[in-house]
Amino acid sequence: MSGHNESILREPLITGKDITYAQITEEILSPVENKPNKAWWIGFILALCGATLWVVSVGYTFWFGIGSWGLNKTVGWAWDITGFVWWVGIGHAGTLISAVLLLFRQNWRNSINRSAEAMTIFAVICAATYVVSHMGRPWLAYWVLPLPNQFGSLWVNFNSPLVWDMFAISTYFSVSLLFWYTGLLPDIATIRDRATGVRKKIYTIFSFGWTGSVKTWQRFEAVSLILAGISTPLVLSVHTIVSMDFATSVIPGWHTTIFPPYFVAGAIFSGFAMVLTLLLVVRKVLGLENYITMFHIESMNKIIILTGSIVGVAYLTEFFIAWYSGSQYEQYAFINRATGPYWWAYWMMMTCNVISPQLLWFKKVRTSIAATWILSIVVNIGMWFERFVIIVTSLHRDYLPSSWTMFYPTWVDVGVFVGSIGVFFTLFLLFLRVLPSIAIAEVKMILKSASEQSKMKLIKEGHLDKEHVAEYIESLEKFDSVKQEEYAKI
């Protein structure tokens, strides 16, 4: 050792050879600055069809009434709140990735946080549409806000979990939007600087006069950190509060204290699954394989298996507690879940959420793009069924058997849900066209090729002694498991 302490290198978060900052800008902005390709158009038209279906279905509901859904006197919520919770859950990954992983200095998040946050925002928008559309009188939706009013001294009911929900979701949406937009500022400025004409004008407005000065960057970092701090508790609070819609009720199968952690885990589970579903396609179509690497995929798969197992334990705990409680209503509710008329929904949930994610223990599966993609969709299906099971199978057979009934969806129920997926993808595809899907500024921070390139240059030109070079190459192998064939040639 000759006193040179090289910092430990790690597997590069951005792969590819001789990547330069310019190249990063070029590659990431390519979909924004060029005409869309065929794949985008196909996706966009499909998504737009979905969005149209949503408009038709929701319009039909607004025109005729909630009766156009399949709900009845016993089952007052079904696909609507299932869809709501599903979308809110999906929205969770964005904040987790952008805020929690930022605080934990998980730099690998830099490649995926932008898309994940966009996904969050669009998912929360989809969830919010359900909040309004499931109401019997949606034109009065603003009544759940504690607004000063002239209806007398009417105020909202602060005991109601739906009011908590309204606070939780709106806070979550505002903070997520702010966080996302703040992160976008340097990138919008980059687009501005490269654009001409009308586009330049638009991006100029949206870049908020970003100059790129040291002071700007310093403030940017500070704001990001503060927002991360604010967002972190939201990751836990939003789904905790959503779970209280059920947990604070008296209905067997809903009245469960395990719900908050179980819902949060489930939300992260489904959120990461949705990030994978989206990004595996995006990286392929937009050619971003160097930025979203196998490392990312594997990391996310690990989170999925962790949260999926937490969810699985929660399922079993619910059963245990139902038995242990000695309450016949509780016991029946859970037996009915597994063996009643909706057994198929329960076992669908069990298979998709608990059993199939266990495949991710195998590295081969974990690192297979096709397998990951399929599993991520399976998880999303499973998580939809989880909410369906909680809501519908608990409601359809509660205390008095005289009211027991079945729920059958109508085309409108299906239309609103499928349509909301269309709305989501429409928004996401538009996002891909107008904003960089990867945070340019942030990935540039983690590009290590710059230092490496200069190191290589130094070695080539013989400025370093042999001992030092040998040690450097060895440490590369040892700590970073990087095969540096390039160095061997020297």
Partner: protein
């Protein structure tokens, strides 16, 4: 003066600053710019041309736009001189009579909107049936004709009278017969009118026929005792009741009246005196009465005769032949037990049979004589005049018409084209009649075939009277002027017979003043006020039986033999639809059958095991073909308790010309009725065949077992005598932990609560209709009920449990029931379920906008206008009593057939708002009645008394099963009831503190009655 305080306008005035003093000299503190404006410069200011044009353009545009809005013009004509008794918002009550039952009619600003029991009426003072409750809707039926029809064209009464009189004279001249066909006419005035008509046209004759006939009983009484009457039954005097397929709590003769009598021996008051009657029911189909029986034995139709013979033999020791019940050991054992108990209860027992067979009823008479019922539980001397129809006379009429002997026929409150058994013969015969006049309110099946439809008003628009029992007269008085151009049938007949008095009001009054009032010593005014006049009742005599029964028994055995086939078919009156005359009444169509909970349809009821044997699944549409060749396709309903080898189909459905709501609902079962031995028979044989179709019936309850949950608590009478709290769970109370110990609702004034006696409730459902009418509850139709969206605030949960013969256990869980071989031994409980007005209401905490909150008098309020419709409250309601307006039921063309039109909506109670789409609703504990009660007490400057306020459901209940009142008053009826050891609260373990207590169901069974099923 010192008292004249001076108020300063400001400090300036107080301090009298020079500026103020100066300014105060002028009228206006500051100079007005009048001079400036009127100066030359001001006057010469030019409005620029453009500004002028802009103002003009805007003005014109704004006015045009404002004028485009077509403001609806609602012409309302105020009273020029307000009638003294009509005050908007204050209801008036009038007594009247509905189908022989005295009732009280509530009118608001001239509109009759609700029927109540007439407290003065004696016999009918406890409650009303569902039909009476729903009858207000018939008044506002849009399917009715608006003016009379002559040869299908609208006409005037003058033209119509001219035509009918001319035709009548022609018939008179030809010497052909004239027939007035009526359902039993228990109106003495109407009978007098027909007598006058007959005097004018001597060939005329009144033919009374009832589609649901009691000719069998009348003839049997004629044969046995020389009295061709229906007796008066006194169920309240019977400690032991044995019924052979008589649905006396529902449809048989006078269901509501018998319910009041029956429950007076079984309700909480009777149980406090440790008294309860015992009731055995032998029947094929599961009737309402069967569900209330202590012991019910499934009996095939063909076994009914032999069972009665066996009973007779066992009681009297006679040895009539044909007594064997070889295939039904349960019934055999039961008959022996019943015989023993009847002998023990001589003079305190009653045997009734639903059959319309003269022989069967003769045998029943013999049994009743043997057990000393006459003079106690049966009264032949104050006969019931409700039914006087004679099946033979109607059969004769059909023959006469077919032979062309009838020249004119008048249909009064009858619709034989729908409900006559041999429809083809009837319509063919009718075609041969020259003059066919129908007194109907709509172009029904018979009116459609008539030349003249002389439209009649609803009973609420009419004068009339009724003589339900001998010596018991009640008045029908109008509560509104006829809405359409209708005329009472009696008046038409008076006009056509050129009677001296042609106004029917005067005719009725004259009749009463001449024939009824003098003997009772009352005046016309008295009867208008009280509604009822009773002349002194005769003492009920006891009767002996001398007839030889050998021929009777032989006849019974012979008819039993003809019934003995694979499937014996019973046709019966269903509780909601009865004989089908009110088929266009949407409230009744949507009233669930108390047993099957089916709305808007009839069906083939089969025992589930029978259906499985035949290979049918529930709701499979089968074709049921009777011996007489008539067949219909109907869905199968699995009916536990239905006797194996039998099928039941309800009458009253399948109307084709009832109106928008009632047309083509279900299938007509009247053609299944047969005519043998001079009476109509409601039993026949049939074959079933699959059609391959499947049609879900619209049921309001789809799960029939209570899964061992202690929501229904019951005890045997024996256990109850030992321990009044038996089965109520009141001995094992858990310690209650309460989250809200410091935040209790303080109920300082009143605390409105309810008690429901499960042992009194028969499940008849009249409370449901009463609630619908009182609270403007929309009718949603078959399709919506199928989606489980009926809006009833009050429902009656009906649970079956099964007694396992092998283990002796009561099986309540669906899974176990599925494995039972025999579903005959079924126990039924009816549990009225409505908002429990919980003091810890789960619905209240979850509403985001405080639309449902607790009141200071113990009620759970619902503010419709605040509701945004998240439905969270309904989800969180453990009793699932909240109802959501899925559509705008009051203004949506898809619901046009029910209540959705301006005329029908005149039935709405103005004290209760209708709810728009997207709003939750539920039982308000008739808050409008509570307010009205409080108000009238306040106006009279007194405190509220117990019983001042009655719920709509409570008032309709003949069984006295619902008690409402103030819990803060320890002496109130409800407080006493809630202190009963029998009282428990449904789901009390979740500590929502419900405000409605239920009293345990008591079954008068013991080891002997259990043996019957062993």
């Amino acid at each position: 003066m010192e008292s004249n305080k001076k108020y300063w306008k400001g400090l300036e005035e107080l301090n009298k600053t020079p500026d103020f003093v100066e300014n105060n000299k002028n009228e206006f503190a500051e100079p007005l710019p009048i001079e400036d404006v009127l100066s030359e410069a001001g006057l010469s200011t030019v409005t620029p041309r453009r500004d002028f044009l802009k103002a003009l353009g805007f003005g014109l545009g704004a006015v045009t736009l404002a004028a485009c809005q077509k403001a609806p013009v609602h012409k309302s004509i105020p009273y020029l001189v307000r009638p003294e008794e009509v005050v908007p918002g204050i209801p008036n009550y009038y007594v009247s009579t509905y189908k022989g039952n005295s009732v009280k009619v509530k009118t608001v600003v001239g509109r009759p909107i609700k029927i109540e029991a007439n407290q003065n009426s004696g016999t009918f003072n406890r409650g009303t049936d569902a039909q009476a409750q729903a009858s207000v809707l018939d008044l506002y039926d849009v399917s009715k004709l608006k003016s009379p029809l002559l040869k299908k064209d609208e006409t005037t009464w003058a033209d119509l009278d001219k035509f009918v009189k001319a035709e009548l004279n022609k018939v008179q001249a030809s010497g052909k017969k004239i027939r007035v066909v009526a359902s039993s006419l228990n109106s003495p005035s109407a009978k007098a009118v027909i007598a006058d008509f007959t005097a004018k046209y001597p060939t005329a004759k009144l033919v009374q026929y009832d589609s649901i006939s009691y000719t069998g009983i009348i003839k049997a009484n004629e044969n046995s005792f020389g009295k061709a009457v229906l007796p008066k039954y006194n169920f309240e005097k019977a400690d032991l009741i044995v019924s052979f397929a008589a649905d006396f709590l529902g449809t048989w003769i006078s269901g509501e009246e018998f319910t009041a009598q029956y429950t007076s021996n079984r309700d909480y008051k009777s149980l406090e005196k440790k008294k309860m009657s015992r009731h055995f029911q032998f029947e094929a189909g599961m009737s309402l009465t069967g569900t209330n029986a202590d012991t019910r034995i499934a009996l095939k139709l063909s076994e009914e005769g032999p069972a009665l013979i066996a009973l007779y033999n066992a009681i009297t020791g006679a040895s009539l032949s044909g007594a064997g019940l070889p295939d039904n050991t349960n019934a055999d054992k039961a008959i022996k037990l019943v015989a023993k108990e009847l002998l023990q209860n001589k003079g305190k027992a009653l045997v009734v049979a639903g059959s319309n067979d003269v022989s069967v009823q003769t045998l029943v008479n013999a049994i009743n004589v043997a057990i000393g019922s006459y003079g106690t539980t049966i009264d032949l001397d104050n006969a019931c005049k409700r039914y006087e129809g004679n099946d033979a006379e109607f059969a004769l009429l059909v023959d006469e018409m077919n032979r062309g002997e009838v020249g004119a026929v008048f249909f009064l409150n009858s619709n034989p084209a729908y409900d006559a058994i041999n429809n083809k013969a009837f319509t063919e015969g009718l075609a041969k009649v020259a003059l066919k006049v129908s007194f109907a309110d709509r172009e029904d099946e018979t009116a459609d075939l008539s030349d003249v439809v002389a439209i009649t008003p609803n009973y609420l628009e009419a004068w009339g009277d009724a003589n339900t029992y001998e010596g018991y007269y009640s008045i029908v008085q109008p509560t509104i002027n006829p809405v359409f151009n209708s005329r009472q049938a009696e008046q038409s007949l008076l006009i056509w017979s050129d009677a001296p008095v042609q106004d029917y009001y005067e005719y009725v009054r004259n009749y009463w003043e001449k024939n009824i009032l003098p003997s009772a010593g009352k005046t016309w005014k008295d009867v208008l006020q009280t509604g009822v006049i009773t002349t002194s009742a005769r003492a009920a005599g006891s009767y002996g039986f001398t007839l030889s029964l050998d021929a009777v028994a032989a006849a019974i055995v012979a008819s039993s033999k003809t019934l003995k086939k694979d499937i014996e078919l019973q046709v019966y009156e269903s509780i909601p639809m009865r004989d089908g005359k009110q088929a266009n009444n949407a409230f009744l169509q949507e009233l669930p059958d108390p047993v099957s909970k089916v709305t808007w349809d009839n069906y083939v009821a089969l025992n589930p095991r029978q259906a499985e044997k035949l290979g049918y699944k529930e709701f499979d549409v089968v074709s049921i073909k009777a011996e007489n060749g008539y067949s219909v396709d109907l869905p199968v309903l699995f009916q536990p308790g239905q006797a194996m080898g039998t099928a039941s189909v309800a009458l009253g459905y399948g109307r084709t010309k009832a109106g928008k709501a009632g047309n083509n609902v279900g299938k007509n079962a009247f053609p299944f009725v047969t005519y043998t031995n001079g009476t109509l028979k409601y039993a026949t044989t049939a074959t079933l065949s699959a059609t391959g179709a499947w049609e879900e019936l619209a049921q309001t309850q789809t799960h029939y077992s209570f899964e061992g949950r202690n929501i229904v608590r019951e005890a045997t009478f024996k256990d109850f005598l030992k321990d009044p709290a038996a089965g109520s769970g009141n001995h094992h109370k858990h310690k209650v932990y309460d989250l809200w110990t410091t935040d209790k609702h303080e109920m300082l004034g009143n605390n409105w609560v309810m008690a429901i006696d499960l042992n009194a409730c028969t499940g008849c459902g009249s409370c449901i209709v009463a609630c619908n009418v009182e609270n403007n509850i929309p009718v949603v139709g078959k399709d919506e009920v199928r989606r489980r969206r009926e809006m009833h605030w009050l429902r009656i949960d009906r649970y079956y449990s099964f007694n396992d013969e092998k283990t002796g256990h009561n099986v309540t869980e669906e899974k176990e029931i599925a494995h039972m071989d025999n579903l005959d031994n079924v126990s039924v409980v009816h549990q009225p379920m409505l908002c429990q007005h919980c003091d810890h209401a789960p619905c209240e905490t979850v509403c985001p906008v405080l639309a449902t909150v607790h009141s200071s008098d113990g009620l759970n309020h619902m503010a419709y206008n605040r509701c945004v419709g998240t439905r969270y409250c309904a989800n969180n309601c453990p009793y699932k009593v909240r109802r959501f307006n899925w559509f705008n039921y009051w203004n949506d063309s898809r619901f046009d057939n029910y209540l959705n039109n301006e005329f029908t909506q005149l039935v709405l109670n103005p004290d209760v708002t209708t709810r728009s789409r997207g709003v939750m609703e539920k039982c308000s504990m008739c808050i409008q009645r509570i307010q009205a009660g409080k108000l009238s007490a306040k106006l009279e400057k007194r405190a509220l008394k117990d019983g001042d306020i009655k719920m709509a459901c409570q008032e309709a209940c003949s069984a006295n099963a619902i008690i409402f009142g103030d819990k803060n008053d320890p002496n109130s009826e409800v407080s006493k009831a809630l202190r009963s050891e029998r009282t428990y609260y449904v789901l009390e373990e979740i500590n929502v503190e419900p405000g409605i207590g239920y009293m345990t169901k008591i079954r008068n069974i013991d080891s002997e009655t259990k043996e019957v099923h062993a």
